[in-house]
Every structure is written in structure tokens, then in C-alpha cells.
Amino acid sequence: MRSPFTQLVCLATVAIGTLSSFKALNFFGSDPRADEDHSQMIAEELPHARPPRGVPLTITEGTWLRAPGEEWIIQQNELARKQGLEPRFTEDPSAADGEGAWIDSTGFIQKRYDEEEDFWAYWQWVGPAQLTRGRRDFVQFCSSCHGLDGDGYGRSGQWLRPSPRDFRQTNFKFTKVLANLPTDDALKRLIKRGLDGTPMLPWDLSDEQITDIVQYIKSLSPEGMGWRDPFTGIGSIVEAGENPWAGRENFAIKHGEKVYHGVAQCMLCHPGYVNPRDLPGLLDQPEDTVYRENLYLPVLKDSEYEVLGEKVKILPPDFTFHTIRSGQTPQDLYETIASGIKGTAMPAWKGSLSEEDLWALAYYVQDLVEEYKDKPAERRGLMERLREGL
């Protein structure tokens, strides 16, 4: 249970956050981006909601950050072409003082050689003006929880569980990509959607603002980590493809129950939701097989994320009780299950289960949420049945 105080802080945070997102532009008087020369305004360090005095808001140097490779660039161009748009990137061998680069409206991406590591990788140049805009919006909208320097120890954030992300750890859970790190678009979607059941709100900022914030967050990667790691992989959100159960949702739920307790054995970490007596049948085991204690509860698992220098343990959700963070539609759940949750015990299942099984799991989990979540009487009934093996 959250303490009343924690709840109060959460509520206050939510209230402040919501207010600021709606009134985003008013705090600065007007949108500086509307001005022709806003770099001048940035230099003036505009009045801020509550910036502690002396907190620097201007970034004077640009930086190189890891970018997805050429395959992705070409994919982006093809995507645009399919939608009847101009290709997003143009290859220009004469760009960047003759070094050659892929250019789009936000800047350029180059294949560069890392001498120390003897390695080629794609890097994106992010200039100081954009980083400054991102930093300023970050301090305005994100720092109350994520900290003025993105360390996850903002004043409102220090009492929150789960802890707000420390961006210097470059560990992002709900990116829904198969690579280590998400593309900018994947991060932007996460910020726009927020994380349900946490004080991470859906942020109603302009696309430009979120783009700037994303660049700033990426730039918080320490040397050799995250977007400053030449070896890291960056991927787009996993594609859901066609739903094989469309029009047969009830069959999907039934099949999902079988997959959940059978081949995927989700109940090794999450709770089991069938009568323990039915399990041997689903798992093809002798009837008197004994399963783990408290099968109707989740099991605490290690994660790679640290708070105060200690690795945090994470409780896999009980879908009848906890709020699923990253969306509850079958498509959302498909994406989460398929791609896994980075830095946690939850693996990627795409490729390991058939598409039919993956979608069925998504339908089954959605059904658990619909049937029992926030329905205390129904849930109590289910739990009693499971506990007593009735």
C-alpha cells in the first residue's frame, strides 16, 4: 500500500504535471519557437515555473548520439514513399564538409569510425540549440520527478515507487522494440502515451517539444553507454502484423489460457490463473505433480535497474490486480509480450511462439484485466478458488 503521504505527492505531481502540460506555452509568455530567432531567447534563460536559482538551462556544445543504421533509413524512406510523401532522408555525399551524410529536417546521420573501439557505427549529430530547447522543456516538465539532471531523484520523484527513470542508466523498460534501445519515434510514443498506473503521464506537448526532450534525454547517456555506445542496437517498435483471431476473440482467450499455463509457462513468474489440479493436463505432467508454492501470486524477480546503487527487484504484474503499464488493447499487449521488457526478467517472445500463440496470450491477458481488475468481489472469488484449489 502507498502511504497517504505518497498518494498526496503522487496526486500533487499529477496535478502539477497536467496543469503544466496544458499551459505549456503560457509559462514562457509565448512559444519561442514561433519567433524567427529563438536562439537569442534561449540565451536569455526565460522565466521558468520554479527553476532553482543558478540551474543552467543552456547547452553550448552539440553531441554525437547513436542512430539506427542505413537499413532503417531506407525503410523510413520507403514508408514515406508508400504514404505518398517525400522520402524522409536524402543522402548527400557532399554534406558535413564533404564527409557525406543522410539528412532529414531534424539534422543528419553519418556512418562514423570509432578509432578507440575500431568500429563503424551510425551517429546522429544533435546541435546545442536543440539540446538547449530539450533541456529547458525537460526542466519544466520532467525534472520534478526525473531530477534536474535526469538522475531520477527529482523532489517529487524521490518518494515514488516505481522510481522515475534515471536516464543515465540508459535502461528503458517499455520501449516495445527488439533492440536494446528505441528509435526516437518509439521514445516519443512512450512519452505521448505515458505509463498507466504510474505518475508518468501522457504528455500533451507539441511534437517538436517532445522531439527536443527525447534528444536531450538521449544525451544524458554516459560515455560508452546507451546512445554513446557504438555497439548498441537501436530498433523500431515491433510490428504486430495481422491479427489471426479477428472475429474469433473467444477462441483466442481460450487458446491463450492454454499457452499461458502450457508452452509459455508464464506462471513461473506471473500468477497462475487456473485451478492447480488442471495444470498437469496443460503441462502434460503426472496428476500428482506439485507446483510452486503460492502459484496464485507473482514471484519477485531481479532487474538491471539500480536505485541508490542497489539493483531493484521487480514484481511481475498480477493481471487481475496491477495496472498494466504499457497499454491494454490486444495490440498493445501483443507488442509488450512480443518485445519483452528491457532490463527485467520478461523476455522477448516474438519468434519463440507462433503469431497465433502471441495474439492469443494478448487476448487472454486482456480478458483477465476485464474480468477481474478493479472488481474486488469477482477477484476475491477467483483468488479463493485458486488458493483452495477448488
Binding site: 553550448t60 557532399s94 569510425y113 546545442p128 555497439f231 513461473l268 506439485v290 524477480k301 519463440s352
Partner: protein, 276 residues
């Protein structure tokens, strides 16, 4: 960013130096035209982007017939080996049979699962990327082998021989880390290890006792000590080398060894409970 990132030469530059294995010819240029303080970088051209470029002029392409020397030896364990604790598995997953920890395996006074490799003395050679696949199996809810050494360019083929599900959670650094589920009957997970990588664990979060160590070298002179602690490094060229032995919990040891063409040298490493 202070690290010297060298921009990819334009096509012109590539053509000019095309195919050359010669040392890079740095030339000053500036990058980052959007910046007020432009990053100072050096431009060069490379003939390949595999990261396997020549390190120094005069290095020659390695082939197996060039090595006729052998270093062999043993990893000793002094004193009484600790008991390997039994692992009860059935209370987590009734499909797992139970077993024992495998961190320190001693047999006949020899220590198994120590990675022995040549660390210094190979500067004169250029090694092609490794080829083929090495197997890492999950059997009886443990990894076989417990320590896997491989060469950059090789693929690790991870199989699941158990009638239960595992998740293969790799903590590799220079090669892509991953966490992939593998239910019973699922096909092998194939991961190419393109880069050398220091020893990293692969773990299963579903069965928390399951872990193994993988190390990836950028040359072919490495091996893992067998169950009696013995090892052999064949096909070495004549020379003086620094040999490194690394155990997952007992740490690293080094030794210098000189071998002549066709000769064999013996090296013994000694671990004990108080070793680093």
C-alpha cells in the same frame, strides 16, 4: 564527445585509398555544422567496415599452417575444494530435475572451466573472423557447457533440450545484449558474436540458478580447461606470449611463455581459496 570519432570518408576518399591496408592518413576537418563550437574530428578512409582492419603495417594474414608450437598445461586447485551446493529445482519448476552448483569444479586436483588465452604477443598477425557455430545447450535446467569461449565472427547456437521453458538473457556488452524466451520444442536461438567481448553471463530469469559465462576473442588462441584442469593451445606461431587464465569467481592469473617452432611448453596455473 571527446573520444575521437573519425568520420567516414566521402566516396572520393574511399576510392583514393581503396583496398589499401596501409595506416590511416589523418586529415583535419570539421564536423557538426549546426554547432557553434564544432567538434574537431579527423577524416580517414577505410577499405572495410568490418572493424577488422589492419592494426599496424607489417602485420600478416594468419593461417593455421603458420603455427607449429604448442602450449599445454594444467590449472591446479590447492587445498580443499568447496562443496558444490545442491540446487533444488522442483519447487520452482517441477520439470527441472535438480542438480548442483558448478562455479568451482575440481577433479583430481585440477580446476575445470578456466578460460586460457593468449593476451599479448600476437601483434604481428591479422586474424580472419571466426566461422561456424558453437553450441550452448540448456539441459536439466543448467547450461552445457558452463563456460563457453568462442571467436568473434562465430555464431552461438542456443538450444533447449528441456521439456520446459527458458529465457536466454545475455549480458553481452560489445555484442547485442538480448533476452529471448525459448519454450520446449522451440528452434535454436542463433546469435552471431561479431565483436570480441569480455566474459559476460547468460542467465535464465525463470530458473534463477541457471547461469553460464561466455567470452569472445578476436583471435583463435584460447581454450577452456577440461574437467581435470588440463588444457592445450596448439598451432601457435613461435614467440613470447602473455598467457591469461580466467575463472568466473576465482579471478585472473597471468604467465609469460616463450615457444619455438615445433616446440611444446608447459604452464601450470595454481588457484586456491585465497586466490584473487
Amino acid at each position: 564527445m571527446n573520444r575521437s570519432l573519425i568520420g567516414l570518408g566521402a566516396l572520393l576518399a574511399l576510392t583514393a585509398c581503396g583496398g589499401g591496408d596501409s595506416a590511416p592518413k589523418p586529415q583535419k576537418s570539421t564536423t557538426g555544422s549546426t554547432s557553434s563550437s564544432t567538434a574537431e574530428t579527423t577524416t580517414t578512409a577505410k577499405s572495410t567496415d568490418t572493424g577488422g582492419a589492419a592494426k599496424a603495417s607489417g602485420s600478416q594474414d594468419w593461417n593455421d599452417s603458420m603455427g607449429t608450437a604448442t602450449v599445454s598445461g594444467a590449472i591446479k586447485f590447492e587445498g580443499v575444494a568447496p562443496e558444490n551446493k545442491a540446487i533444488t529445482m522442483s519447487d520452482v519448476d517441477p520439470k527441472c530435475p535438480g542438480g548442483a552448483e558448478e562455479t568451482i569444479l575440481v577433479s583430481n586436483g585440477g580446476l575445470a572451466n578456466v578460460v586460457i588465452s593468449v593476451n599479448k604477443g600476437l601483434d604481428g598477425y591479422k586474424f580472419a573472423k571466426g566461422t561456424g557455430a558453437v553450441n550452448l545447450d540448456q539441459k536439466g535446467c543448467q547450461y552445457i557447457p558452463h563456460v563457453l569461449a568462442m571467436q568473434a565472427g562465430q555464431t552461438v547456437s542456443i538450444t533447449n533440450s528441456d521439456d520446459t521453458v527458458h529465457n536466454v538473457h545475455s549480458y553481452s556488452k560489445r555484442n547485442q545484449a538480448f533476452n529471448q524466451a525459448q519454450p520446449a520444442g522451440a528452434g535454436a536461438i542463433e546469435k552471431k558474436m561479431s565483436q570480441k567481448d569480455k566474459s559476460f553471463p547468460i542467465k535464465c530469469d525463470m530458473h534463477a540458478w541457471m547461469n553460464c559465462q561466455v567470452v569472445v576473442f578476436d583471435h583463435p588462441f584460447f581454450t577452456v580447461s577440461d574437467e581435470n584442469g588440463n588444457f592445450t593451445l596448439p598451432k601457435l606461431p613461435a614467440g613470447t606470449y602473455k598467457l591469461v587464465a580466467e575463472h568466473e569467481s576465482l579471478g585472473k592469473q597471468e604467465a609469460e611463455v616463450t615457444v619455438a617452432d615445433g616446440g611444446t611448453e608447459t604452464v601450470t596455473f595454481s588457484y586456491g581459496q585465497s586466490a584473487p
